[in-house]
Protein backbone atom coordinates (compact mmCIF):
# COMPACT_ATOMS: atom_id res chain seq x y z
CA UNK A 1 0.00 0.00 0.00
CA UNK A 2 1.46 3.25 -1.09
CA UNK A 3 0.20 6.55 -2.38
CA UNK A 4 2.16 9.13 -4.36
CA UNK A 5 1.30 12.67 -3.34
CA UNK A 6 2.69 15.75 -5.05
CA UNK A 7 1.89 19.12 -3.51
CA UNK A 8 2.43 22.67 -4.79
CA UNK A 9 5.43 21.65 -6.87
CA UNK A 10 7.59 24.20 -8.66
CA UNK A 11 10.47 22.90 -10.77
CA UNK A 12 12.47 23.66 -13.89
CA UNK A 13 15.89 23.99 -15.42
CA UNK A 14 18.23 26.69 -14.16
CA UNK A 15 16.36 29.99 -14.00
CA UNK A 16 13.46 28.67 -16.08
CA UNK A 17 10.48 27.41 -14.12
CA UNK A 18 8.55 24.75 -16.02
CA UNK A 19 6.18 23.39 -13.39
CA UNK A 20 3.96 25.90 -11.62
CA UNK A 21 2.14 24.86 -8.49
CA UNK A 22 1.51 21.26 -9.57
CA UNK A 23 -0.47 19.03 -7.19
CA UNK A 24 -1.18 15.44 -8.11
CA UNK A 25 -2.45 12.49 -6.12
CA UNK A 26 -1.89 8.90 -7.26
CA UNK A 27 -3.87 6.64 -4.89
CA UNK A 28 -2.72 3.13 -4.13
CA UNK A 29 -3.30 0.63 -6.94
CA UNK A 30 -4.72 3.21 -9.31
CA UNK A 31 -3.56 4.23 -12.76
CA UNK A 32 -3.51 7.99 -13.14
CA UNK A 33 -3.10 9.61 -16.53
CA UNK A 34 -1.14 12.82 -16.92
CA UNK A 35 -2.41 14.25 -20.17
CA UNK A 36 -1.04 17.04 -22.27
CA UNK A 37 0.59 17.77 -25.56
CA UNK A 38 4.34 18.15 -26.13
CA UNK A 39 6.20 20.77 -24.16
CA UNK A 40 3.71 21.22 -21.37
CA UNK A 41 5.91 19.77 -18.62
CA UNK A 42 4.96 16.09 -18.42
CA UNK A 43 8.51 14.79 -18.69
CA UNK A 44 9.79 17.50 -16.37
CA UNK A 45 7.36 16.29 -13.71
CA UNK A 46 8.45 12.67 -14.27
CA UNK A 47 12.11 13.63 -13.96
CA UNK A 48 11.39 15.63 -10.86
CA UNK A 49 9.65 12.68 -9.17
CA UNK A 50 12.63 10.44 -10.00
CA UNK A 51 15.05 13.01 -8.57
CA UNK A 52 16.82 13.78 -11.85
CA UNK A 53 15.97 17.44 -11.39
CA UNK A 54 15.41 19.10 -8.03
CA UNK A 55 12.18 20.77 -7.00
CA UNK A 56 12.40 24.52 -6.38
CA UNK A 57 9.61 24.24 -3.84
CA UNK A 58 6.72 21.99 -2.94
CA UNK A 59 6.77 18.35 -1.83
CA UNK A 60 6.78 14.85 -3.32
CA UNK A 61 5.85 12.13 -0.83
CA UNK A 62 5.08 8.45 -0.60
CA UNK A 63 2.38 7.72 1.98
CA UNK A 64 2.47 4.26 3.49
CA UNK A 65 -0.48 2.31 4.79
CA UNK A 66 0.58 2.84 8.42
CA UNK A 67 0.41 6.60 7.93
CA UNK A 68 4.15 7.16 7.72
CA UNK A 69 5.55 9.12 4.82
CA UNK A 70 8.76 8.98 2.80
CA UNK A 71 9.83 12.41 1.59
CA UNK A 72 11.19 12.16 -1.95
CA UNK A 73 11.47 15.91 -2.54
CA UNK A 74 15.20 16.17 -1.96
CA UNK A 75 16.09 12.47 -2.23
CA UNK A 76 18.71 11.27 -4.72
CA UNK A 77 17.65 9.18 -7.74
CA UNK A 78 19.16 6.11 -6.01
CA UNK A 79 17.16 6.68 -2.82
CA UNK A 80 13.99 7.10 -4.86
CA UNK A 81 14.56 3.80 -6.68
CA UNK A 82 15.31 2.16 -3.31
CA UNK A 83 11.98 3.51 -2.03
CA UNK A 84 10.26 1.54 -4.80
CA UNK A 85 9.65 4.12 -7.51
CA UNK A 86 10.70 3.08 -11.03
CA UNK A 87 10.40 4.98 -14.28
CA UNK A 88 10.02 4.00 -17.92
CA UNK A 89 11.55 7.15 -19.42
CA UNK A 90 10.43 8.95 -22.52
CA UNK A 91 12.27 7.65 -25.58
CA UNK A 92 12.90 4.36 -23.73
CA UNK A 93 16.58 5.09 -22.97
CA UNK A 94 17.81 1.51 -23.31
CA UNK A 95 21.48 0.52 -23.29
CA UNK A 96 21.78 -0.18 -27.03
CA UNK A 97 25.08 -2.09 -26.91
CA UNK A 98 23.94 -4.46 -24.18
CA UNK A 99 21.76 -7.50 -24.73
CA UNK A 100 18.08 -7.71 -23.82
CA UNK A 101 18.90 -9.84 -20.81
CA UNK A 102 21.66 -7.48 -19.64
CA UNK A 103 19.29 -4.52 -19.92
CA UNK A 104 16.76 -6.35 -17.79
CA UNK A 105 19.38 -7.38 -15.25
CA UNK A 106 20.53 -3.78 -14.86
CA UNK A 107 16.96 -2.93 -13.94
CA UNK A 108 17.41 -5.14 -10.87
CA UNK A 109 20.43 -3.18 -9.63
CA UNK A 110 18.88 -2.03 -6.35
CA UNK A 111 19.72 -4.27 -3.40
CA UNK A 112 16.14 -5.35 -2.65
CA UNK A 113 15.58 -6.49 -6.24
CA UNK A 114 18.73 -8.60 -6.59
CA UNK A 115 17.38 -11.41 -4.43
CA UNK A 116 14.29 -11.79 -6.60
CA UNK A 117 16.13 -11.38 -9.88
CA UNK A 118 15.23 -14.83 -11.27
CA UNK A 119 11.53 -14.49 -10.42
CA UNK A 120 11.29 -11.02 -11.91
CA UNK A 121 13.14 -12.07 -15.05
CA UNK A 122 10.69 -14.93 -15.43
CA UNK A 123 7.81 -12.48 -14.98
CA UNK A 124 9.17 -10.07 -17.62
CA UNK A 125 9.56 -12.95 -20.08
CA UNK A 126 6.01 -14.15 -19.38
CA UNK A 127 4.63 -10.64 -19.82
CA UNK A 128 6.56 -10.18 -23.07
CA UNK A 129 7.45 -13.58 -24.62
CA UNK A 130 9.15 -11.68 -27.44
CA UNK A 131 11.85 -10.56 -24.98
CA UNK A 132 12.56 -14.18 -24.05
CA UNK A 133 13.03 -15.06 -27.72
CA UNK A 134 15.47 -12.18 -28.14
CA UNK A 135 17.28 -12.22 -24.84
CA UNK A 136 20.78 -12.45 -26.35
CA UNK A 137 20.09 -9.81 -28.99
CA UNK A 138 21.46 -6.27 -28.64
CA UNK A 139 18.78 -3.86 -27.46
CA UNK A 140 19.70 -1.28 -30.10
CA UNK A 141 18.95 -3.71 -32.92
CA UNK A 142 15.31 -4.27 -31.96
CA UNK A 143 12.16 -2.66 -33.33
CA UNK A 144 10.47 0.25 -31.57
CA UNK A 145 7.72 -1.93 -30.13
CA UNK A 146 10.19 -4.47 -28.76
CA UNK A 147 12.28 -1.67 -27.28
CA UNK A 148 9.25 -0.29 -25.47
CA UNK A 149 8.52 -3.77 -24.08
CA UNK A 150 12.12 -3.96 -22.90
CA UNK A 151 11.96 -0.52 -21.29
CA UNK A 152 8.83 -1.52 -19.39
CA UNK A 153 10.30 -4.91 -18.45
CA UNK A 154 13.50 -3.26 -17.23
CA UNK A 155 11.60 -0.89 -14.96
CA UNK A 156 9.64 -3.80 -13.48
CA UNK A 157 12.88 -5.63 -12.67
CA UNK A 158 13.46 -3.27 -9.74
CA UNK A 159 10.30 -4.64 -8.13
CA UNK A 160 8.65 -1.22 -7.86
CA UNK A 161 5.55 -0.23 -5.92
CA UNK A 162 5.10 2.94 -7.95
CA UNK A 163 5.64 2.94 -11.70
CA UNK A 164 6.11 6.14 -13.70
CA UNK A 165 5.57 5.66 -17.42
CA UNK A 166 6.51 8.57 -19.66
CA UNK A 167 4.88 8.57 -23.11
CA UNK A 168 4.74 4.83 -23.81
CA UNK A 169 3.06 5.47 -27.17
CA UNK A 170 5.75 7.66 -28.69
CA UNK A 171 7.03 6.40 -32.04
CA UNK A 172 4.87 3.29 -32.11
CA UNK A 173 2.39 2.14 -34.73
CA UNK A 174 -1.26 2.50 -33.61
CA UNK A 175 -1.75 -1.24 -33.12
CA UNK A 176 1.35 -1.42 -30.89
CA UNK A 177 0.20 1.62 -28.91
CA UNK A 178 -3.02 -0.15 -28.15
CA UNK A 179 -1.16 -3.34 -27.09
CA UNK A 180 1.28 -1.42 -24.92
CA UNK A 181 -1.44 0.53 -23.11
CA UNK A 182 -3.28 -2.77 -22.64
CA UNK A 183 -0.19 -4.31 -21.00
CA UNK A 184 0.16 -1.36 -18.63
CA UNK A 185 -3.50 -1.78 -17.66
CA UNK A 186 -2.87 -5.50 -17.10
CA UNK A 187 0.06 -4.70 -14.86
CA UNK A 188 -1.90 -2.48 -12.55
CA UNK A 189 -4.47 -5.26 -12.21
CA UNK A 190 -2.13 -8.23 -11.73
CA UNK A 191 0.58 -6.61 -9.62
CA UNK A 192 -1.42 -3.95 -7.84
CA UNK A 193 1.01 -1.32 -9.06
CA UNK A 194 0.40 2.35 -8.46
CA UNK A 195 0.95 3.97 -11.85
CA UNK A 196 1.39 7.51 -13.09
CA UNK A 197 1.38 7.56 -16.88
CA UNK A 198 2.17 10.64 -18.96
CA UNK A 199 0.56 10.42 -22.38
CA UNK A 200 -0.37 12.56 -25.36
CA UNK A 201 -2.69 9.97 -26.78
CA UNK A 202 -5.89 10.86 -24.94
CA UNK A 203 -8.12 8.13 -26.38
CA UNK A 204 -5.65 5.38 -25.49
CA UNK A 205 -4.82 6.71 -22.03
CA UNK A 206 -8.43 6.94 -20.88
CA UNK A 207 -8.92 3.23 -21.62
CA UNK A 208 -7.00 2.27 -18.49
CA UNK A 209 -6.96 5.44 -16.38
CA UNK A 210 -8.82 5.54 -13.06
CA UNK A 211 -8.53 9.29 -13.17
CA UNK A 212 -6.57 11.94 -14.95
CA UNK A 213 -4.95 15.35 -14.91
CA UNK A 214 -4.48 17.71 -17.80
CA UNK A 215 -1.32 19.76 -17.73
CA UNK A 216 -1.09 22.97 -19.78
CA UNK A 217 2.03 25.20 -19.72
CA UNK A 218 3.24 23.51 -16.56
CA UNK A 219 0.02 24.01 -14.63
CA UNK A 220 -2.70 21.54 -13.79
CA UNK A 221 -5.60 22.84 -15.87
CA UNK A 222 -8.02 20.09 -14.99
CA UNK A 223 -8.21 17.28 -12.43
CA UNK A 224 -10.88 14.66 -12.93
CA UNK A 225 -12.82 13.22 -9.99
CA UNK A 226 -12.82 9.72 -11.44
CA UNK A 227 -12.67 7.75 -14.69
CA UNK A 228 -16.15 8.75 -15.85
CA UNK A 229 -15.44 12.40 -15.15
CA UNK A 230 -12.26 12.13 -17.24
CA UNK A 231 -14.11 10.62 -20.19
CA UNK A 232 -17.17 12.82 -20.13
CA UNK A 233 -16.38 16.21 -18.61
CA UNK A 234 -16.70 19.00 -21.16
CA UNK A 235 -13.72 20.76 -19.59
CA UNK A 236 -11.48 17.97 -20.90
CA UNK A 237 -12.59 18.56 -24.45
CA UNK A 238 -12.07 22.29 -24.24
CA UNK A 239 -8.61 22.08 -22.66
CA UNK A 240 -7.21 19.08 -24.33
CA UNK A 241 -8.92 18.76 -27.63
CA UNK A 242 -9.08 22.48 -28.19
CA UNK A 243 -12.75 22.15 -29.05
Amino acid sequence: MVELVIKDLYAGYGAVTVLNNVSIDVPNGQTVALLGTNGNGKSTLMRCISGLIKAKSGTIELREEDGSTIDLTSASPQEIVEAGVAQVPEGRRLFPDLTVEENLTLGAYRQAARATLATNLEYAFTLFPRLAERKTQLAGSMSGGEQQMLALGRALMSDPRVLLVDEPSVGLAPILVSQMIGKIGELSQSRGLTILMAEQNFNQAIRIADKGYIIVHGEIAFASKDATDLRENDMVKSYYLGA
Partner: protein, 301 residues
Amino acid sequence: MATFIDLLLNALVIGILLGGFYAALSIGLSITFGLLDVVNIAHPTILVLGAFIAYILNTSLGIDPILAGLIATPFFFVFGWLIYQVYYNAFEKSGSESLRGLAFFFGLLFIIEVGLIIQFGVDHRLVEAPYIGESWNIVIGEEIDVAIPFRLLVAFVVAAIATLAIQVYLTRTFFGRAVRAVAQDMMALRLMGVDPIRVKRIAFALGVATAGIGGALMIIVLPIEPSVGRLYIGNVFAIVVLGGLGSISGTLLAAVIIGIAESIVATFFGPSWSPAVSFGILLAVLALRPEGLFGKTAGAH
Protein backbone atom coordinates in the same frame (compact mmCIF):
# COMPACT_ATOMS: atom_id res chain seq x y z
CA MET B 1 63.23 -23.43 -47.21
CA ALA B 2 63.86 -24.93 -43.80
CA THR B 3 65.31 -21.61 -42.70
CA PHE B 4 62.23 -19.76 -43.91
CA ILE B 5 59.84 -22.08 -42.05
CA ASP B 6 62.02 -21.84 -38.98
CA LEU B 7 61.92 -18.04 -39.11
CA LEU B 8 58.19 -17.95 -39.77
CA LEU B 9 57.34 -20.36 -36.95
CA ASN B 10 59.50 -18.47 -34.49
CA ALA B 11 58.02 -15.15 -35.63
CA LEU B 12 54.51 -16.55 -35.13
CA VAL B 13 55.20 -17.92 -31.66
CA ILE B 14 56.95 -14.75 -30.53
CA GLY B 15 54.10 -12.74 -32.08
CA ILE B 16 51.42 -14.59 -30.13
CA LEU B 17 53.35 -14.22 -26.87
CA LEU B 18 54.05 -10.57 -27.62
CA GLY B 19 50.32 -10.16 -28.24
CA GLY B 20 49.55 -11.43 -24.75
CA PHE B 21 52.00 -8.89 -23.37
CA TYR B 22 50.37 -6.09 -25.39
CA ALA B 23 46.97 -7.19 -24.11
CA ALA B 24 48.18 -6.68 -20.54
CA LEU B 25 49.28 -3.16 -21.47
CA SER B 26 46.02 -2.36 -23.28
CA ILE B 27 43.39 -3.87 -21.00
CA GLY B 28 43.30 -0.87 -18.64
CA LEU B 29 42.89 1.49 -21.58
CA SER B 30 40.17 -0.75 -22.96
CA ILE B 31 38.25 0.07 -19.77
CA THR B 32 39.05 3.78 -19.44
CA PHE B 33 38.97 4.72 -23.12
CA GLY B 34 36.88 1.89 -24.61
CA LEU B 35 34.13 1.77 -22.01
CA LEU B 36 34.25 5.13 -20.25
CA ASP B 37 35.21 7.37 -23.19
CA VAL B 38 38.06 8.91 -21.18
CA VAL B 39 41.04 9.45 -23.48
CA ASN B 40 43.72 8.47 -20.99
CA ILE B 41 46.74 9.08 -23.15
CA ALA B 42 48.93 8.85 -20.04
CA HIS B 43 48.13 5.13 -19.64
CA PRO B 44 51.43 3.83 -21.09
CA THR B 45 53.40 6.23 -18.91
CA ILE B 46 51.47 5.10 -15.83
CA LEU B 47 52.55 1.59 -16.85
CA VAL B 48 56.16 2.80 -16.86
CA LEU B 49 55.60 4.08 -13.33
CA GLY B 50 54.41 0.56 -12.47
CA ALA B 51 57.56 -0.84 -14.07
CA PHE B 52 59.73 1.38 -11.88
CA ILE B 53 57.87 0.31 -8.74
CA ALA B 54 58.52 -3.32 -9.69
CA TYR B 55 62.14 -2.33 -10.30
CA ILE B 56 62.54 -0.74 -6.85
CA LEU B 57 60.88 -3.64 -5.02
CA ASN B 58 62.92 -6.13 -7.02
CA THR B 59 66.35 -4.54 -6.68
CA SER B 60 66.07 -3.33 -3.08
CA LEU B 61 64.05 -6.17 -1.51
CA GLY B 62 64.52 -8.97 -4.01
CA ILE B 63 60.77 -9.36 -4.51
CA ASP B 64 59.67 -11.17 -7.66
CA PRO B 65 58.49 -8.55 -10.20
CA ILE B 66 55.05 -10.15 -10.68
CA LEU B 67 54.49 -10.18 -6.93
CA ALA B 68 55.72 -6.57 -6.83
CA GLY B 69 53.10 -5.74 -9.46
CA LEU B 70 50.39 -7.32 -7.31
CA ILE B 71 51.57 -5.35 -4.27
CA ALA B 72 51.45 -2.12 -6.30
CA THR B 73 47.94 -2.75 -7.66
CA PRO B 74 45.94 -1.25 -4.73
CA PHE B 75 48.12 1.86 -4.84
CA PHE B 76 47.43 2.30 -8.53
CA PHE B 77 43.72 1.85 -7.80
CA VAL B 78 43.88 4.78 -5.37
CA PHE B 79 45.99 6.75 -7.86
CA GLY B 80 43.38 6.16 -10.59
CA TRP B 81 40.60 7.15 -8.18
CA LEU B 82 42.35 10.47 -7.51
CA ILE B 83 43.06 11.12 -11.19
CA TYR B 84 39.39 10.61 -12.08
CA GLN B 85 38.29 12.83 -9.19
CA VAL B 86 40.41 15.70 -10.53
CA TYR B 87 39.40 15.00 -14.14
CA TYR B 88 35.71 14.86 -13.25
CA ASN B 89 35.66 18.02 -11.15
CA ALA B 90 37.82 20.03 -13.52
CA PHE B 91 36.49 18.92 -16.90
CA GLU B 92 33.79 16.29 -17.17
CA LYS B 93 31.36 18.00 -14.80
CA SER B 94 31.27 21.11 -16.98
CA GLY B 95 31.28 19.12 -20.23
CA SER B 96 34.67 20.44 -21.34
CA GLU B 97 36.45 17.08 -21.27
CA SER B 98 37.16 16.52 -24.95
CA LEU B 99 40.09 18.81 -25.68
CA ARG B 100 41.02 20.05 -22.22
CA GLY B 101 40.75 16.53 -20.85
CA LEU B 102 43.22 15.36 -23.46
CA ALA B 103 45.58 18.17 -22.47
CA PHE B 104 45.16 17.11 -18.83
CA PHE B 105 46.29 13.56 -19.57
CA PHE B 106 49.16 14.86 -21.71
CA GLY B 107 50.24 16.95 -18.75
CA LEU B 108 49.99 13.94 -16.45
CA LEU B 109 52.12 11.95 -18.90
CA PHE B 110 54.90 14.54 -18.79
CA ILE B 111 54.75 15.04 -15.03
CA ILE B 112 55.17 11.31 -14.40
CA GLU B 113 57.88 11.01 -17.03
CA VAL B 114 59.89 13.99 -15.82
CA GLY B 115 59.46 12.84 -12.21
CA LEU B 116 60.92 9.46 -13.12
CA ILE B 117 63.80 11.06 -15.03
CA ILE B 118 64.66 13.29 -12.06
CA GLN B 119 64.60 10.32 -9.73
CA PHE B 120 66.16 7.59 -11.86
CA GLY B 121 67.87 9.28 -14.80
CA VAL B 122 67.55 8.08 -18.38
CA ASP B 123 69.46 4.80 -18.10
CA HIS B 124 67.73 1.53 -18.97
CA ARG B 125 66.75 -0.50 -15.92
CA LEU B 126 65.99 -4.17 -15.61
CA VAL B 127 64.78 -6.66 -13.02
CA GLU B 128 65.98 -10.11 -12.03
CA ALA B 129 63.88 -13.24 -11.82
CA PRO B 130 64.62 -16.91 -12.52
CA TYR B 131 62.52 -16.94 -15.69
CA ILE B 132 64.18 -13.93 -17.31
CA GLY B 133 66.79 -14.97 -19.87
CA GLU B 134 65.71 -18.62 -19.93
CA SER B 135 63.94 -20.14 -22.87
CA TRP B 136 62.43 -23.41 -23.90
CA ASN B 137 63.62 -24.94 -27.17
CA ILE B 138 61.28 -27.22 -29.09
CA VAL B 139 62.93 -29.15 -31.90
CA ILE B 140 60.41 -29.73 -34.67
CA GLY B 141 62.56 -30.99 -37.52
CA GLU B 142 65.91 -30.64 -39.18
CA GLU B 143 67.05 -27.03 -38.84
CA ILE B 144 63.62 -26.15 -37.46
CA ASP B 145 63.29 -25.42 -33.77
CA VAL B 146 61.10 -22.98 -31.92
CA ALA B 147 62.43 -21.00 -28.98
CA ILE B 148 59.94 -19.85 -26.37
CA PRO B 149 61.42 -17.19 -24.09
CA PHE B 150 60.09 -17.65 -20.55
CA ARG B 151 59.82 -13.91 -19.91
CA LEU B 152 57.32 -13.65 -22.79
CA LEU B 153 55.54 -16.83 -21.75
CA VAL B 154 55.07 -15.45 -18.22
CA ALA B 155 53.74 -12.20 -19.67
CA PHE B 156 51.33 -14.11 -21.89
CA VAL B 157 49.95 -16.29 -19.09
CA VAL B 158 49.53 -13.39 -16.65
CA ALA B 159 47.84 -11.30 -19.37
CA ALA B 160 45.44 -14.11 -20.26
CA ILE B 161 44.45 -14.57 -16.60
CA ALA B 162 43.97 -10.82 -16.06
CA THR B 163 41.91 -10.44 -19.25
CA LEU B 164 39.69 -13.37 -18.34
CA ALA B 165 39.18 -12.06 -14.80
CA ILE B 166 38.21 -8.59 -16.04
CA GLN B 167 35.93 -10.06 -18.71
CA VAL B 168 34.10 -12.16 -16.10
CA TYR B 169 33.85 -9.20 -13.73
CA LEU B 170 32.35 -6.95 -16.42
CA THR B 171 29.80 -9.46 -17.70
CA ARG B 172 28.80 -11.41 -14.59
CA THR B 173 28.43 -8.81 -11.85
CA PHE B 174 25.87 -6.05 -11.35
CA PHE B 175 28.60 -3.48 -11.04
CA GLY B 176 30.41 -4.76 -14.15
CA ARG B 177 27.27 -4.47 -16.24
CA ALA B 178 26.79 -0.92 -14.97
CA VAL B 179 30.36 -0.14 -16.09
CA ARG B 180 29.52 -1.36 -19.59
CA ALA B 181 26.32 0.70 -19.63
CA VAL B 182 27.62 3.96 -18.18
CA ALA B 183 28.88 5.55 -21.40
CA GLN B 184 25.71 4.56 -23.23
CA ASP B 185 23.14 6.38 -21.10
CA MET B 186 23.95 7.95 -17.74
CA MET B 187 20.41 9.18 -17.15
CA ALA B 188 18.94 5.72 -17.69
CA LEU B 189 21.45 4.33 -15.20
CA ARG B 190 20.33 6.90 -12.64
CA LEU B 191 16.79 5.63 -13.12
CA MET B 192 18.03 2.11 -12.29
CA GLY B 193 19.26 3.43 -8.94
CA VAL B 194 22.92 3.58 -9.99
CA ASP B 195 25.21 6.56 -9.38
CA PRO B 196 26.98 6.81 -12.75
CA ILE B 197 29.78 9.04 -11.47
CA ARG B 198 30.66 6.49 -8.78
CA VAL B 199 30.63 3.76 -11.45
CA LYS B 200 32.98 5.76 -13.65
CA ARG B 201 35.27 6.60 -10.75
CA ILE B 202 35.65 2.97 -9.66
CA ALA B 203 35.97 1.67 -13.23
CA PHE B 204 38.61 4.28 -14.06
CA ALA B 205 40.51 3.33 -10.90
CA LEU B 206 40.29 -0.30 -11.96
CA GLY B 207 41.69 0.55 -15.40
CA VAL B 208 44.63 2.39 -13.83
CA ALA B 209 45.12 -0.42 -11.29
CA THR B 210 46.10 -2.74 -14.15
CA ALA B 211 49.30 -0.67 -14.40
CA GLY B 212 50.63 -2.54 -11.36
CA ILE B 213 50.83 -5.89 -13.13
CA GLY B 214 51.16 -4.37 -16.61
CA GLY B 215 54.16 -2.31 -15.55
CA ALA B 216 55.81 -5.35 -13.96
CA LEU B 217 55.38 -7.28 -17.22
CA MET B 218 56.81 -4.34 -19.13
CA ILE B 219 60.10 -4.48 -17.27
CA ILE B 220 60.17 -8.29 -17.34
CA VAL B 221 59.91 -8.26 -21.14
CA LEU B 222 62.33 -5.39 -21.88
CA PRO B 223 64.63 -3.08 -19.93
CA ILE B 224 62.90 0.28 -19.55
CA GLU B 225 63.67 3.96 -19.14
CA PRO B 226 61.21 6.76 -18.21
CA SER B 227 60.19 7.87 -21.71
CA VAL B 228 59.57 4.36 -23.08
CA GLY B 229 55.84 4.79 -22.49
CA ARG B 230 55.50 7.05 -25.49
CA LEU B 231 56.58 4.21 -27.79
CA TYR B 232 53.57 2.22 -26.64
CA ILE B 233 50.92 4.92 -27.22
CA GLY B 234 50.38 3.91 -30.86
CA ASN B 235 50.38 0.24 -29.91
CA VAL B 236 47.82 0.34 -27.13
CA PHE B 237 45.42 2.73 -28.87
CA ALA B 238 45.62 0.65 -32.09
CA ILE B 239 44.78 -2.47 -30.08
CA VAL B 240 41.83 -0.94 -28.24
CA VAL B 241 40.38 0.49 -31.47
CA LEU B 242 41.02 -2.68 -33.49
CA GLY B 243 39.42 -4.83 -30.78
CA GLY B 244 36.31 -2.67 -30.84
CA LEU B 245 35.83 0.01 -28.20
CA GLY B 246 34.77 -1.58 -24.95
CA SER B 247 35.25 -5.20 -25.98
CA ILE B 248 37.63 -6.93 -23.56
CA SER B 249 37.91 -10.19 -25.51
CA GLY B 250 38.30 -8.12 -28.69
CA THR B 251 41.23 -6.35 -27.03
CA LEU B 252 42.97 -9.68 -26.38
CA LEU B 253 42.47 -10.86 -29.96
CA ALA B 254 43.54 -7.51 -31.42
CA ALA B 255 46.67 -7.56 -29.25
CA VAL B 256 47.60 -11.00 -30.61
CA ILE B 257 46.99 -9.85 -34.20
CA ILE B 258 49.21 -6.80 -33.73
CA GLY B 259 51.81 -8.88 -31.91
CA ILE B 260 52.00 -11.38 -34.78
CA ALA B 261 52.06 -8.61 -37.42
CA GLU B 262 54.88 -6.78 -35.64
CA SER B 263 56.87 -9.92 -35.08
CA ILE B 264 56.62 -11.03 -38.71
CA VAL B 265 57.50 -7.58 -40.01
CA ALA B 266 60.44 -7.38 -37.61
CA THR B 267 61.70 -10.83 -38.66
CA PHE B 268 61.47 -10.39 -42.41
CA PHE B 269 61.86 -6.65 -42.93
CA GLY B 270 63.84 -5.56 -39.88
CA PRO B 271 62.86 -4.36 -36.39
CA SER B 272 62.92 -0.70 -37.39
CA TRP B 273 59.69 -1.26 -39.32
CA SER B 274 57.72 -2.66 -36.44
CA PRO B 275 56.49 0.67 -35.00
CA ALA B 276 54.88 1.33 -38.41
CA VAL B 277 52.75 -1.80 -38.03
CA SER B 278 50.44 -0.63 -35.26
CA PHE B 279 49.96 2.84 -36.74
CA GLY B 280 49.35 1.28 -40.16
CA ILE B 281 46.74 -1.05 -38.69
CA LEU B 282 45.20 1.79 -36.69
CA LEU B 283 44.76 3.90 -39.84
CA ALA B 284 43.40 0.95 -41.83
CA VAL B 285 40.89 0.09 -39.10
CA LEU B 286 39.69 3.69 -38.77
CA ALA B 287 39.21 3.86 -42.53
CA LEU B 288 37.70 0.45 -43.20
CA ARG B 289 36.01 -0.77 -40.03
CA PRO B 290 35.82 2.01 -37.42
CA GLU B 291 33.77 -0.14 -35.04
CA GLY B 292 36.69 -2.61 -34.76
CA LEU B 293 36.59 -6.39 -34.80
CA PHE B 294 34.05 -6.81 -32.04
CA GLY B 295 32.57 -3.34 -32.04
CA LYS B 296 28.84 -2.94 -31.83
CA THR B 297 27.13 -1.29 -34.76
CA ALA B 298 23.85 -0.41 -33.10
CA GLY B 299 25.52 1.73 -30.48
CA ALA B 300 25.37 5.31 -29.42
CA HIS B 301 29.09 5.95 -29.90
